[in-house]
Point group: C3
Chain length 284, copies 3
């Protein structure tokens, strides 16, 4: 498992063939989906397929996340019951509005992890509502489980009563606020998907824009987008220099028997170290 | 009275002819003004004229609001004393900076409503100061009386020390933040006026921009602007689909003898139902 | 000493010749630097040179500030010990993330001022981290010492993992948010530097943009930039009209033996009065 956040690909959880094919994907994160790509009547089937897929965790080279249903759907308890299993690295929670929602979910998570004797898994909240945009900093700062936030543009525009168009005026404020809030909280930040698979130039420009706004990577809906995204979210000098500092200081701190430490005033723990290490391995 | 927020037209409160003519206006909201369009020496006269106009409330087809003077003016108690009368649907409060100001005003309002035996009226805070922009979400979330917020660009730029120009850089951040904060709070959001009456194309583009940013409607200074604004703030698919859900779920909830309910996690009460119903009536 | 904020020029604190030449500078604020322009091994020397320069305070026509090292550097106590002396008008604190940092610094400051029998000096926090951008309003509202905030674009982009380019997309959100937050807090706001000394047209456009966003002035790295910056940050009508109100109302309040008062609901004390007076003197 790498701890990079350049690419997060959504794989419909109700399609056993896709789950199987995902083993060969080179995305940093493979995210099995229980939400929008799964019709109501297949939710239960999808949970079971994902549970099975997690048993062959070793065949996947990416981090493995599951996108649950949204806090408002009432389905998260059922989702977690099936998918919080050995092999899962974390969950993506769609349409997170505020930290009250996270608190409830974390409680369920912790209980399941304890019963099933697995380590605490990561949470990537998805910001795709106006309320989520208002609260991004608070959400991203919620706690150690939060390793990244992801931006969802379609549902956000819908919440604003705005029709989707490419690079619309309606997305600008939110798309720019989210990476600032995420960096302030010290977590990675993954840009929204580029939907038009035929518009390769559009994807490229959208990646460049995302990178220039501070995004660490991009959500992906088709394997063909992975190489483009990896090329354009290749770490730059300032990221490499930061990763070097993190590795150096964390290793020194570890030698002294300490865990978490600070680098230029920012809290650094094992998760940050792993991310920094993965980034440096990448550019070797 | 409709509960739509596509258009809010300001009518000088000191001009009895204008108050009379406003009876034929087709704007969603007619807002009698006590603030900027009324010179100091005519404030008292304007309050009396508005009080009189409210007596023929039934001759107006729009919602009837009154814009009071600003919290900092010290004139609000005198304004409210005269204009909180049967027939008024709400007040627009200009230059709201924070919820402390709203608390004081609401206290006066509630007392007057009780004495005069009228139902609680709505409040539309106007965001037109830097402090108001910072606090928009808190202001919009202040309570059930807040049905919308309105943006005021001229006073905002003045507060920032910026000279007005059309679509200036200085307005961009605030104009984009306000609709996100308003939607997060679940209230309507009305864009600033377009001042140049001769520039019809400019008005049209400004409406389109406002709509694409999430605004529900626009402030208006001349009756000629109403049809253009109504055309360009016509509800789109996502708004219609939301209104349908709200109506359906609220009616089901009502049948069970319950009032307020939630739709996709958002609080829905009678005000939201009326708005949704008005929107659906519009497109019939 | 003027109390204008059109221009703040950084002067390396370790260069005695530059400190001497700064006596002839016509910038509103001359800021001796202890941070980025001073190598580690010269910090101690720079502190001593600045301490000496402050003894000939009367030879400088500008306000005299010192930029300390950052809160995370651990060097501020040593900085303050040397430079909090008679003659200093204030400090610029780089990379301020939150008000917890300000609290600690203010404690040291107050103790030194008391011991050394000097009046409380000003603080200009520099916003150049994602966390600082999130907290700008809180930082700018921290207390009476805060007379302005200054924007630092290079370190901000670095914190966001974005490579610097002129007028990059990555700076837009933060550069627009900061003046709104500063005006909301009632303090001046100084834009980031323009680094390319050869690109005079670029500087001019960058000043115009900053002014149109609400900035009061600009950071400067070379004396040649001062006249351009002063020309383009010349006060406009709305600023002059505000200054006139502040002077009038503050003088009336003073005559009645009162100090601080309010103008249109904003707190006005002697600092604001001096700023307003300086602005009106400028345009005489």
């Amino acid at each position: 498992m790498t701890q990079l956040f350049r690419s997060l690909i959504f794989v419909p959880g109700n399609n056993s063939r896709f789950l199987e094919k995902a083993k060969s994907l080179q995305a940093d994160i493979v995210c099995f989906d229980l939400e929008d790509s799964v019709p109501e009547i297949e939710k239960s089937k999808a949970r079971k397929l994902i549970k099975t897929a997690l048993k062959s965790r070793k065949s996947y080279s990416s981090s493995i996340f599951v996108r649950t249903n949204s806090p408002n759907s009432g389905k998260i308890p059922d989702d977690l019951k099936e998918i919080v299993q050995k092999g899962i690295d974390g969950i993506v929670i769609p349409k997170v509005n505020n930290i009250k929602e996270l608190k409830i979910i974390e409680k369920s998570l912790s209980r399941l992890e304890k019963t099933r004797k697995i380590k605490p898994i990561q949470i990537i909240p998805s910001i795709e509502s106006a309320e989520g945009v208002v609260n991004t900093y608070e959400i991203a700062s919620y706690g150690q489980r939060i390793s990244a936030v992801v931006f969802g543009v379609f549902d956000l525009l819908n919440d604003l009563g705005v029709e989707y168009s490419k690079n619309s005026e309606g997305e600008k404020y939110s798309r720019r606020k989210i990476p600032v809030d995420a960096h302030a909280a010290g977590v990675a930040v993954i840009d929204a998907i580029w939907q038009d698979l035929k518009d390769a130039k559009g994807l490229e420009n959208d990646c460049k824009l995302g990178k220039s706004l501070g995004y660490t990577g991009k959500s992906i809906i088709h394997p063909d987008q992975i190489p483009v995204v990896h090329k354009l979210f290749h770490p730059n000098k300032s990221e490499i220099s930061w990763a070097e500092k993190v590795c150096k200081i964390y290793l020194e701190s570890s030698k002294k028997g300490k865990g978490a430490t600070t680098v230029e005033g920012k809290m650094i723990d094992e998760v940050h170290f792993k991310q920094a290490k993965a980034l440096l391995d990448l550019i070797k």
